[in-house]
């Protein structure tokens, strides 16, 4: 049966999460008529229970209607064995997307991230870039993105302390951050006993810790509350609307213009293109029916895995290998942050039970190019973070530090004494894209509609292992300085599905090696824009969301400015 053809709109946005849910605001304010297709529904504050089983163990079973049907598969290397397929998709469906329950960490990348390749060549020579890496400089600089970072910070609301305002460095903030035009709109989240303790240890080591920026209200904002620090924030939605997901910030403002129509529970199956190669609209399923939403411009803003998958599934005469894939670039340059934690055991109670994971102490002394990498065998490094919020199942799932078995009476006694006396240090290392790390369609595994799921081909390169081991050593040093008496390090290995997944539709000037141009629009289908970390060519050493949002805003701005030439 032919799909029901709906009235044409100016812009259709696929996915109302961190990226799409932000881009709809400038678009709607400009007067464009926008339809937002979202695979999930609306959430109320009372949907957000402090329930670790539901939020963290069973991963929001009520809110992954679509994502859980299409969990990607993964294999290590081209001929490697399949990695275990997780039972849950790490992202969720809902108006606001995963910004409903993310940690809210809202870092900017640094100037270095945008020109990692040329800076590395300049400082360390060609041998410092792994031979099989496909890394390129970004087509834009930090300075070009800076105004959009600021807009995102002020519009969604980010709490933090500036470390560099127009070149004036402030030790109270992150001294390694790249210059910002002005201070954060809210002071940082408050510190806690444990974060103060770790900050003091960092200071004794001569390191420069700071309170990480978070999209969480440290003070009341408009009519919304300041954070209650209740301790169920990680993978938990906010019951008092203090977390600045797009569902409570940009989306309501966009709706208020009258120019945004939201279609919840819309399961998008394809983006259509005409024979000339322009996209014409989006096909989706809802309530048992199939619909076609025609639009002058399509913005694809689902998660990294689905951005690639939907392009590859959208075949047409103009794009026989998938939409915008005539150069064979869709799915390439895939990267993710990877496992790297170090756990420390202390002889005193840390009292990490409450708070939020964004309430922490972080440092960048060992990230980016903030230290000399000569002879180290890797470039970049990682941000280090300790944080509050140890929920009870998580606390009890602690490592045993080789001191007791993992069950039985002695373990129970160990747990009684130590469940409140351990803490992880997390590192996010800057990963690089490699030729043999990519996304494609799984040849065997399909979703219930019969469409192949996304497949990851991944691995952990020697340079990345060296970076992780280096950072684990720094993590241990920090924990020991703070009084840890035992250390356990997570084993190295690639992780299958990540909430920090990059690439697949990389942004760059060269159409032969990139899917979208410097503005986020397809080199091939010029009225198709792509939002999300899928456009990022390097991962950076910190959480991606704010960069995703700044880029999304910039793409929306470009569309508004160039409407006549893009929409024709």
């Amino acid at each position: 049966m032919a799909p029901v053809k709906l009235p044409k709109t100016d812009v259709v946005v696929i996915g109302l999460g961190a990226a799409g849910g932000l881009a709809v605001l400038p678009l709607a304010l400009s007067g464009l008529k926008v339809v937002g297709l979202e695979a999930g529904g609306w959430f109320q504050p009372s949907d957000h229970l402090p329930d670790e089983i539901r939020n963290n163990i069973r991963h929001w079973p009520h809110a992954v209607q679509k994502a859980n049907q299409e969990i990607p598969t993964a294999r290590e290397g081209l001929s490697g064995p399949p990695l275990p397929r997780p039972a849950y998709h790490p992202m969720m469906n809902g108006v606001g997307g995963t910004s409903l329950h993310y940690w809210g960490q809202s870092w900017r990348l640094t100037e270095w991230d945008f020109k990692l390749r040329s800076e590395t060549l300049r400082r360390y020579g060609p041998s410092a870039i792994p031979e099989d890496s496909t890394v390129e400089d970004w087509p834009l600089s930090y300075e070009e993105l800076e105004p959009y970072y600021e807009r995102a910070e002020y519009t969604i609301g980010v709490a933090g302390k500036a470390g560099n305002i127009q070149g004036t460095v402030d030790q109270a903030g992150n001294i390694f951050e790249s210059p910002r035009h002005r201070e954060y709109p809210m002071p940082p989240l408050r510190s806690a006993g444990f974060t103060d303790h770790m900050a003091a240890a960092a200071k004794r080591l001569g390191w420069h810790s700071y309170s990480p920026p978070a999209a969480i209200n440290s003070v009341p904002r408009g009519e919304r509350n300041a954070c209650y620090y209740h301790g169920f924030c990680g993978s938990g939605g906010c019951p008092i609307d203090a977390k600045n997901s797009t569902a409570v910030t940009t989306i309501p403002q966009a709706v208020a213009t009258g120019n945004l129509k939201i279609v919840p529970y819309a399961h998008v199956i394809a983006i259509n293109a005409d024979d000339a190669g322009r996209v014409t609209g989006v096909r989706y399923l809802k309530d048992g029916g199939e619909y076609f939403q025609p639009a002058s411009v399509v913005l694809l803003a689902s998660y990294t895995y689905e951005n690639t998958r939907l392009l590859l599934l959208s075949r047409s005469k103009a794009y026989p290998k998938g939409l915008s894939n005539n150069h064979g670039q869709v799915g390439l340059h895939y990267q993710s942050h990877t496992r790297s934690g170090v756990m420390g055991l202390f002889t005193f109670d840390l009292n990490r039970w409450y708070g939020t994971p964004a309430q922490g102490t972080s440092l960048d002394d060992w990230s980016d190019d903030n230290f000399d990498h000569g002879g180290l065998g890797f470039i970049g490094g990682g941000n280090l973070l300790v944080h509050m919020e140890a929920k009870p199942i998580e606390a009890a799932s602690m490592p045993t530090f080789g001191k007791v078995p993992r069950w039985g009476s002695s373990w129970k006694a160990f747990l009684r004494e130590n469940a409140g006396r351990w803490a992880p240090v997390w590192t996010q290392i800057s990963t690089l894209p490699f030729r043999d790390h990519f996304l494609d369609l799984d040849p065997d595994v399909k979703d219930p509609l019969g469409y192949p799921v996304c497949r990851l081909t991944i691995g952990l390169k020697e340079s990345e292992k060296r970076a992780i081991l280096f950072m684990q050593e720094k993590s241990e040093q920090w924990l020991r300085e703070a009084g840890a008496i035992a250390i356990e390090k997570l084993p190295l290995g690639p992780i299958a599905l990540s909430t920090h997944a990059y690439g697949g539709t990389r942004m760059g000037d060269n159409a032969a090696t990139n899917v979208v141009d410097r503005w986020g629009f397809s080199h091939e289908a010029t009225n198709l824009g792509i939002l999300g970390a899928s456009v990022m060519g390097t991962s950076g050493a910190r959480n991606p969301t704010l960069t995703v949002q700044a880029l999304a805003w910039r793409t929306a701005d470009h569309l508004i400015r160039e409407w006549k030439s893009i929409a024709l």
């Binding site: 402090p50 670790e52 006993g193 009258g258 005193f348 009684r416």
Partner: protein, 219 residues
Amino acid sequence: MGSRPEAKKKISGDSQQFLSVSRRELLAGTAAALTCTLFPVSSLVPPRTAAPAEVLASRERECLEAMVSRLIPAGADGPGAIEAGCARYIERALGDAYQLLRKTYNEGLAALHSCAVARGAESFAALSAAEQDQILSDFERNVHIGDYGNSAAFFEMVRRHTLEGMFGDPAYGGNANFAGWDLIGYPGPRMYVSPELEKMGAKLPRSRVFAKQLVDGSR
């Protein structure tokens, strides 16, 4: 419509904090202009078939109870997994969220049983604690039991689920009398946490309440 439903509930804190979370009327004028259907998410959870009261056969249940009681034994230091209802938690989950794991449980419990029979016992539950521990150690180290090769995976799964039952929200059938939270000194869910409660060395009054009670303010 394009707005989420109004929240009417009050959120209660345990520090005499009551806060209305009613939403501002920001969207009031626009609702009529937009035409999509709107559902509160809570109404869209697929209707669950009533969990059968008993998912496991009685011999299986006995075996599972014996296993979890060795993972977290009762003792002078407090209740163990049985007393906290971990087996009940697991069986309830197998009738509901973990339905797809029933076969995995059936097979693993059968393997435990066959180990006990091989030792001349009537059942795993009938073995001494020391013998049960030996078998569980074999499972943990992935010793194959006949043609059953999933012993470590089974052990890890049951351990994980036992931790969920012991330390999760009691609404799921485990953590009876908050035994798990008492064991590890978890101070308990509260809506509002003052800066004082986040200090190291703070005296933490215990809040013993279910998540739903906290959000409904119905404690």
